[in-house]
Each structure stands twice: as C-alpha cells, then as structure tokens.
Amino acid sequence: MRKSIGSALAALAVIGAGAVPALAQQRDPAYAAARASGKVGEQSDGYLGIVGNADPSTQRLVDDINIKRRAVYADKAQKNNATLEAYALSAGCTAALRTVAGEKYRAPDGTWQTRTNAAPVRDSRCPSAAAAGNDTGD
C-alpha cells in the first residue's frame, strides 16, 4: 500500500517538476510581442536592446527586464567567482542562440541583424554551439 502510494507520489513529482517550470517561465506577453515584432532584440552583452527609436512603454519594458537580468547576473557571477560583465557576456552567448527566426539580435559589430535559421553571429569568445551542448537542434 505504502509502496504504491510512494511510487505514485514520485511519479506525480516527476510530472510536476517537468510541468511547473514550463508554466512559470512564460514571457510577459508585451515582451513576447515586442520580441516577435522585432522592436527589441538580444545584445551580445547579455541585455535586451531596442531596435531603432525607443518609445516610452518599450523603454520601460526593456529597462525592467534588464534590471531583472542584471540582478540574476550579479547573484550568479558571485557564486561562480566571476565578474558580472563576464557572466552577462556568457549569458548573452546563450540568449543569442535562443532567438528564433524573425527576431532581432545585435551582432558584435553593433549592427542589428534578423535571425534566420542559420546560426546567429556572436561574439568571438562565445563557445561554439556544439561545445555549449546546444541540443535544441533537430
């Protein structure tokens, strides 16, 4: 009796652990929309940038997200004995890989690029997609 309950609970926990992160980690709809329309894009320094002229609501949105990102970087950098900038750059490498076709990202030379199905142009210090264990491919 106990065993079956225990195993049932364990199974539930596994399912729960898989489901909850996906639900909790949805992008804010305004952010998702701005990203899809190409108003905001990933920068190589690990922060979001605005493509072209900034309007107040987009600026607020981007500032809010960047502040949150910075807080995360500060915390993680300290845990990893690295500088905030180094950690942010490393996260930027990963974030650039997460862009989908049609979204904007900033190439190392500062120009805004539109993501295609090809690999994004990233900072030369970024590890290659294979080395980073990028398993989002086919």
Binding site: P21, A24, Q25, Q26, R27, D28, D45, I65, K68, R69, V72, K76, N80, A82, T83, E85, A86, Y87, L89, S90, A91, C93, T94, A95, R98, S124, R125, C126, P127, A131, A132, G133
Partner: protein
Amino acid sequence: MMHHELTAPACAATSPQDTGEGAAAMQRHRNGKRRALMAGCAILVAGLAGCVNIAAPDKPIVIELNINIRQEVIYRLAADAANTVEENADIF
C-alpha cells in the same frame, strides 16, 4: 634693444632659440622678480625644446572594458549561464 616679453610662465609662440637669447638678455637688464620669472621661463623652454601640446586629441578615447574578459572565462561560465537562462526563461 630686443624686447621680448614672456607674460606668463607658459609656452610662448616664439622659437626657443629667440626666447632663450632674449630671456638671457633680459636677465642682465631687469631686476628682482622679473629676473626670477625669466629664469624660470628660460629653463622651462630650454628644457622642453618646443611647445607643450595641451590640446585634447580629436578622436574620443574609447575604452572597451569587454576586451578584458578572456575566452576561457566565458567557456567556464557557459554551462552555468545556460542553466541560468533556462531557469529564468521569462526574462530571457
């Protein structure tokens, strides 16, 4: 008589040769304060052999802080950063 006047202890727009000669002449003919001032200028100009350029460079000085981050650091953090991005997917 040559009449050179160095009005301030800065670089004068005259050739060092002239100023040195004029200043030396003035040392003999002026007294007290003037002499000290001229002596100072003569030493300064003679030592510098030309004007000190205090104008700012025309290109702005760009300091790239990012270049100090080495690739090995990025590699070391890559795995942890990937996890962080996944954990915080709502802001990434």
